[in-house]
């Protein structure tokens, strides 16, 4: 009974103060649109970095004395080393084939009696092992293995990659914290204004003996509903902007990083954005009611 009254009072509140409610919804939508866009941007950048990271590899050049079976056995041992995701064996013949493809002619090697290129192992790293420290550990583990002549791990690349990942993570945390706080303050103030605008109603309810819960719950519901509407609107706006800007962004990024696939929010992420609107609305209305003596 009381819940039904609370819901009907919340809906009545939104309908009776359409302009204030619309302002609250619009504010929440704009703020969440900024948060959503930033988070989409960061997650796509992280995705691109991840893609780049998956191409990072350590190459172990093998001794020419190894038989094919020895190479296979060594590959299995290497695959068990710390931080290794998978190992691809490149035989001497495959290496030559790649060389010819890459350089564009077999005539360079025509004068040679035998294939001079060594067989190798391409060692791909687990995402968490793409750091200079993990590479050093892997290096130590592989260095003494018989049959490995030389290790090439592009240390500079790895360090650059680790720095980029660190930077993106710090920027994402920083932007998230600042925007989140701004969102909280703006939404709390907007709903606070809506509550002040209905001070008479609060006073009258208190006068007729309404409990604090009876008075507060409709405002909390109202804040939550406004937040959810704002979140849904923000999602719609971010999607619109994404669809509008996607072609240009993809082209620009392709020039820099090669082929990339940008993505929109997953269903879970989209629902989380809308729900965070509801949460902010609820929090806003709670803070607006703090200090109210009714």
């Amino acid at each position: 009974m009381l819940l039904r009254i609370a819901i009907s009072n919340a809906v009545r509140g939104i309908r009776s103060a359409t302009a204030t409610s619309a302002l609250a919804v619009a504010t929440i939508a704009v703020v969440l649109m900024l948060v959503g866009s930033a988070s989409l941007l960061v997650s796509n950048m992280a995705g691109i970095l991840d893609e780049v990271g998956s191409n990072l590899q350590v190459t172990a050049f093998l001794a020419t004395s190894l038989s094919e079976n020895d190479e296979r056995a060594l590959a299995t041992r290497v695959a068990a080393a710390p931080g290794v995701e998978r190992v691809i064996r490149v035989s001497k013949a495959e290496a030559l084939e790649r060389f010819e493809k890459l350089v564009g002619g077999a005539e360079l090697l025509a004068g040679l009696d035998s294939n001079p290129l060594p067989a190798s192992l391409e060692i791909h790293l687990l995402p968490e092992a793409r750091t200079p420290e993990s590479i050093a550990i892997l290096n130590d583990a592989l260095d003494g293995l018989p049959g490995i002549d030389e290790l090439s791990h592009g240390q500079e690349w790895i360090e650059g990659y680790a720095r980029a990942v660190g930077l993106i993570e710090s920027v994402a945390t920083g932007i998230g914290a600042v925007l989140g706080l701004a969102a909280l303050l703006i939404i709390a103030n907007t709903i606070r204004l809506a509550v002040y605008a209905r001070q008479d109603e609060l006073d009258i309810l208190a006068l007729v003996g309404a409990s604090r819960t009876f008075i507060r719950v409709p405002f909390m519901l109202e804040g939550t509903i406004q937040g959810l509407l704002g979140g849904a609107l923000a999602l719609f706006l971010v999607f619109g902007a994404y669809e509008l800007l996607l072609p240009q962004m993809s082209q620009g990024l392709e020039l820099v990083t090669g082929r990339v696939e940008l993505r929109f929010f997953t269903t879970y992420e989209a629902l989380r954005l809308v729900a965070s609107g509801g949460g902010l609305g609820l929090f806003g209305s709670l803070t607006a009611l703090v200090g109210w003596r009714g």
Binding site: R12, D200, E201, D203, I204, L207, V208, G209, A210, F214
Partner: protein, 240 residues
């Protein structure tokens, strides 16, 4: 099901002992006021503006706390009421103001029903009680109208219906006829007086002396926050 703390037989619903209220150090809105108002008694509270009439009423419905002294309302010590107990007390005290305090975005029926909604009265029962209450103030035909479309007298009758629909034990009215013409004033005062006849303790703050003379009820006059006069109802016996 109403669960209300019962007053002991003969115990006055409103008892004030040496009550003072100060909003600023050294300045008293009420000073050393002692007063008892019995069950079903009708009291006019009078005095010039700033004499402390409104403050006294606010203390009774726990909108304010006394700075000094004790106030017992329906057996509860107002100074010691926690925030959670105040709503329970207010459900037993109806209040009417000069400016009606109605919600413009709700119909007459919804305004009156507020007092029943807050105690969780089922919708069907609430509607029938509201209808009966509106009928008793002659406004049943206006129940689906909004307050703005009503005259001042009608709005005050709605406010009175809201104050009385929950059958309060105390009815407080702060200048209830201050905005009304003489004919409507008598109409409203007759309704208030009839509540006292049914056993409700009534305290009406007014500076309209013609009303006090017309009804011949007990009159407490405040002056500078103190009780200057306490004249019993005409024909009442006074034991000293």
């Amino acid at each position: 099901m109403k669960r209300r703390a019962q007053l002991a037989a003969g115990e006055a619903p409103v008892r004030m002992y040496h009550v003072s209220k100060s909003y600023m150090a050294g300045q008293y809105a009420l000073q050393d006021v002692s007063l008892e108002v019995g069950r079903g008694e009708f009291v006019f509270l009078t005095g010039s503006s700033g004499a402390g009439k409104t403050t006294l009423l606010e203390l009774i419905f726990a909108a304010e706390q006394p700075s000094e002294g004790q106030i017992l309302v329906l057996g509860r010590n107002v100074a010691r009421l926690g925030a959670g107990a105040i709503p329970a007390l207010r459900r037993r005290v109806g209040v009417v103001f000069q400016d009606f305090k109605l919600l413009d975005d709700r119909t007459v029926e919804e305004n009156v029903r507020l007092a029943l909604d807050v105690i969780g009265t089922p919708r069907r029962e609430a509607r029938s009680r509201v209808f009966a209450m509106l009928k008793s103030v002659g406004l049943q035909h206006r129940r689906f109208h909004r307050p703005q479309s009503l005259s001042g007298g009608e709005q005050q009758r709605v406010a009175l219906a809201r104050a009385l629909v929950n059958e309060p034990e105390i009815l407080l009215a702060d200048e209830p006829t201050g905005n009304l013409d003489p004919v409507l004033t008598i109409e409203i005062m007759d309704l208030i007086a009839s509540a006292a006849v049914r056993g409700t303790t009534v305290i009406v703050a007014t500076h309209d002396h013609s009303l006090i003379e017309r009804y011949g009820k007990r009159m407490v006059r405040l002056e500078g926050g103190r009780i200057a006069e306490d004249i019993p109802a005409a024909g009442a016996t006074v034991s000293l």
